[in-house]
């Protein structure tokens, strides 16, 4: 048997639950045939895949080395841990969970600081006043360095912090921090505020592919199937199916509907009996049904979709272009 495609999935916590739910929605249920404590798994009903349960940080490392083919990890880790990330991995798609921002935060007491330009000025003044550079506590050393360089901030030193970074200014081990935050509550509780233009990265969980992994024809085919299913599921979630049948339904009306409600017509023009199937963004559904009724529809049926399979596979196309 040829080598399987290795899919790396976070091994614990919310990220694991979300990742499993994400694959399950696409009809890919992750199973552990040898028991729940096993760190190797499979996908029910789909041969040629091995699931590796790893920490998000380890997934990132293995993607960079090409030791796994696909993995789920945060964009923050990809940008921080992988030098020249775009040449080593492909961020195939944001998954809509694990949202968090990497931000620059300073003590709330710094009433004179609102922007990165203020920080630049304060950093230089700090060096003159205190004869040392301002310290920035962070675990995002590379992200911080690149962001500060882009902002032209030079007079600072990084203090590496592996946990409880937000406590560093109060503890006196740093003047400010760069850290990840979802709601900002922890920052506020530590009397810190986010600098207005200090968003280093808006991150979320991503499906990531390793460009440097060995990609055999079989492994590519497996990836294509996985991505086809994911695409079908995502497409389904972004539309509702709207159906109606009425005599006045003609090509001109369909064109108007496409224009006004950003709908898609997966099966083309209305049938000879005036049967029409539309895929409509959820927010537009009610307006669309009103419009159809005003134009002669007696009844309009709306339903959720499970999958919408289409001829094209944009996620796989994105991957293939980079391999």
């Amino acid at each position: 048997m040829s080598a399987p495609l290795v899919l790396a999935v976070p091994a614990k916590g919310r990220l694991q639950e979300n990742a499993e739910a994400f694959f399950a929605r696409s009809g890919l249920s992750l199973i552990k045939p040898r028991g729940a404590r096993d760190y190797r798994g499979a996908v029910a009903g789909l041969d040629g895949i091995e699931v590796a349960y790893l920490s998000a940080s380890e997934i990132t490392t293995q993607l960079a080395q090409g030791a796994v083919h696909l993995g789920i990890t945060g964009e923050d880790l990809v940008r921080e841990q992988i030098p020249d990330a775009d040449n080593r991995v492909v961020l195939i798609d944001g998954l809509g969970f694990g949202f968090a921002n990497v931000v620059v935060a300073v003590p709330q007491a710094w009433i004179d600081v609102r922007t990165m330009a203020d920080i630049d000025d304060v950093a230089t003044a700090f060096r003159h006043h205190h004869d040392r550079k301002m310290r920035v506590a962070t675990k995002y050393i590379n992200l911080t360095r690149d962001f500060f360089a882009r902002q032209g901030v030079v007079d600072y030193r990084i203090v590496e912090s592996s946990g409880a970074t937000e406590g560093a200014p109060a503890a006196g081990t740093a003047e400010m921090i760069v850290d990840i935050t979802t709601t900002g509550t922890t920052l506020a509780a530590n009397a810190l505020k986010i600098v207005d233009d200090g968003i280093v990265l808006r991150s979320q969980a991503n499906l990531v592919a390793a460009r440097t992994a060995t990609w055999t024809a079989e492994q590519r085919e497996t990836a294509r199937v996985i991505l086809d299913r994911i695409t079908a599921q995502q497409r389904a979630r972004s539309f509702r199916e709207v159906r109606a049948r009425f005599a006045a339904c003609d090509a001109r009306l369909v064109a108007a509907v496409r224009e006004r409600f950003s709908v898609e017509t997966p099966f083309g023009e209305p049938t000879s009996s005036g049967m029409l199937t539309l895929h409509c963004p959820p927010a537009q559904v009610y307006a669309l049904t009103t419009f159809l009724r005003e134009n002669g529809a007696e009844a309009v049926a709306v339903a959720d979709l499970d999958y919408v399979f289409s001829k094209d596979n944009p996620l796989y196309a994105k991957l293939e272009a980079k391999l």
Binding site: V106, P107, Q108, A109, W110, I111, D112, V113, R114, T115, M116, A117, D118, D120, D121, V122, T124, A125, F126, H129, H130, K133, M134, R135, N142, T144, R145, F148, A149, G152, V154, D155, Y156, R157, I158, P169, A170, G172, A174, E175, M176, A191, D196, D197
Partner: protein
């Protein structure tokens, strides 16, 4: 065999160069390759980390690195020696280590460091002459000479009638590589103004007695239970907060100031022409007194350059040259091949602030340059 012979020939030429520096009175030094990382990070900033080879003592905290240049190691050894503070001149030849995308990480540099000389103009000119000796040693008889003087911009900013925050910003922008002249358009004291929630308070404080305002803001911060957060004192925060009120609505650089800066930055040519233009500019801007020290030094240096036999017409001076080199404080120069564009073969200048940053209690004048041996090695000639 042939490659080895070529390498030896290269080494022989570099050795010949450094021997000539030794004969000129520069003591040859060989600082350790393994250096504490702190001085490099402190002087060059965090950004240099990605170009450095870092390591640590097993079990220890202190970071070490393979030396990315020789200026800092030579300066530190000098400071630690009995000669510290006295005039001393050194030359060196050896490998330095930088992570580079398109070239080997280990490469040879030669160079000179001269400390404690009070005759700055003469010392500056001597550096350029010795730099030209390096290119001539490799058979490049007429290198392009580009010079600048960052003290002139510092003098200009000091002389301008601007709040301190503006001066800090201008000096900093000059030291960056981006095009300052273009930046001037967009240049605002970013963030220091236009903050709606404080605007009223700032305006109210603007006309008040500075001491009283300072006490008020300090008190307010104390009432909020804030003493020293994140290493900045309440007084520092209050001071800068009030500085913003002093700036008022002037978020844009005044037009006439901008005009002066642009005119200043457009001055270039041979040193004699440039000096005349700078004198006129100083007179027009009413800044003669403030710019005189820097201009006197500039003209005196031009005289010494001519005395070193360097034809003034060969020297290309530009007020804008020298931007992007953070630690230079005066004269800066680069030698390039007129037939090629790009990287300098020899580069150097004056860095009078360096030894203080490295821990010297007294300021010590310092000037020097480094020679990119690998870039010169492509030339076939010799003497």
């Amino acid at each position: 065999m042939e490659a080895k012979a070529t390498a030896q020939a290269k080494d022989a030429r570099a050795e010949a160069l450094v021997s000539s520096y030794e004969r000129a009175g520069y003591a040859r030094v060989q600082p350790p390759i393994l250096q504490p990382a702190e001085p490099f990070l402190d002087l060059s900033g965090e950004d240099i980390r990605k170009r450095m080879f870092l390591t640590a003592v097993p079990g220890g905290d202190e970071e070490f690195c393979l030396r990315p240049d020789l200026t800092i190691p030579v300066s530190r050894d000098y400071l630690a020696s009995a000669a510290a503070g006295k005039p001393a001149s050194f030359c060196y030849l050896g490998p330095v280590f930088r992570n580079r995308n398109d070239a080997p990480a280990e490469f040879l540099q030669a160079g000179i460091e001269s400390f404690g000389r009070a005759d700055k103009a003469a010392a500056d000119a001597e550096m350029l002459a010795l730099g030209l000796e390096a290119t001539a040693n490799y058979g490049l008889a007429t290198a392009d000479i580009q010079i600048g003087d960052v003290a002139l911009f510092a003098g200009l900013t000091a002389a301008l009638d601007l709040p301190p925050a503006w001066k800090r910003r201008l000096v900093k922008d000059f030291n960056r590589k981006a095009n300052l002249a273009q930046d001037l358009d967009r240049l605002t004291l970013g963030g220091s103004n236009g903050r709606p929630e404080y605007q009223g308070v700032l305006a109210a404080l603007a006309g008040s007695d500075p001491k009283g305002a300072h006490a008020l803001v300090t008190d307010l911060l104390s009432i909020a239970g804030i003493n020293a957060v994140g290493g900045r004192s309440v007084a520092e925060i209050a001071e800068r907060f009030l500085e913003q009120s002093a700036l008022g609505a002037s978020t844009r650089l005044p037009k006439e100031v901008r005009g002066l800066i642009e005119r200043f930055l457009s001055i270039e040519g041979d040193p004699d022409e440039a000096a005349a233009e700078l004198r006129t500019l100083a007179a027009d801007g009413g800044m003669t007194e403030a710019l005189n020290p820097a201009l006197d030094l500039f003209e005196s240096r031009a005289g010494f350059l001519a005395a070193q036999g360097i034809e003034p017409k060969r020297v290309r001076f530009s007020t804008a040259f020298g931007r992007g080199f953070d630690y230079y404080t005066g004269f800066v120069f680069e030698l390039t091949d007129p037939a090629r564009t790009g990287d300098p073969l020899v580069a150097g200048g004056r860095y009078d602030g360096l030894l203080t940053r490295l821990g010297s209690a007294e300021p010590i004048a310092a000037v020097g340059f480094s020679v990119w041996i690998e870039r010169l090695a492509i030339y076939g000639g010799g003497r």
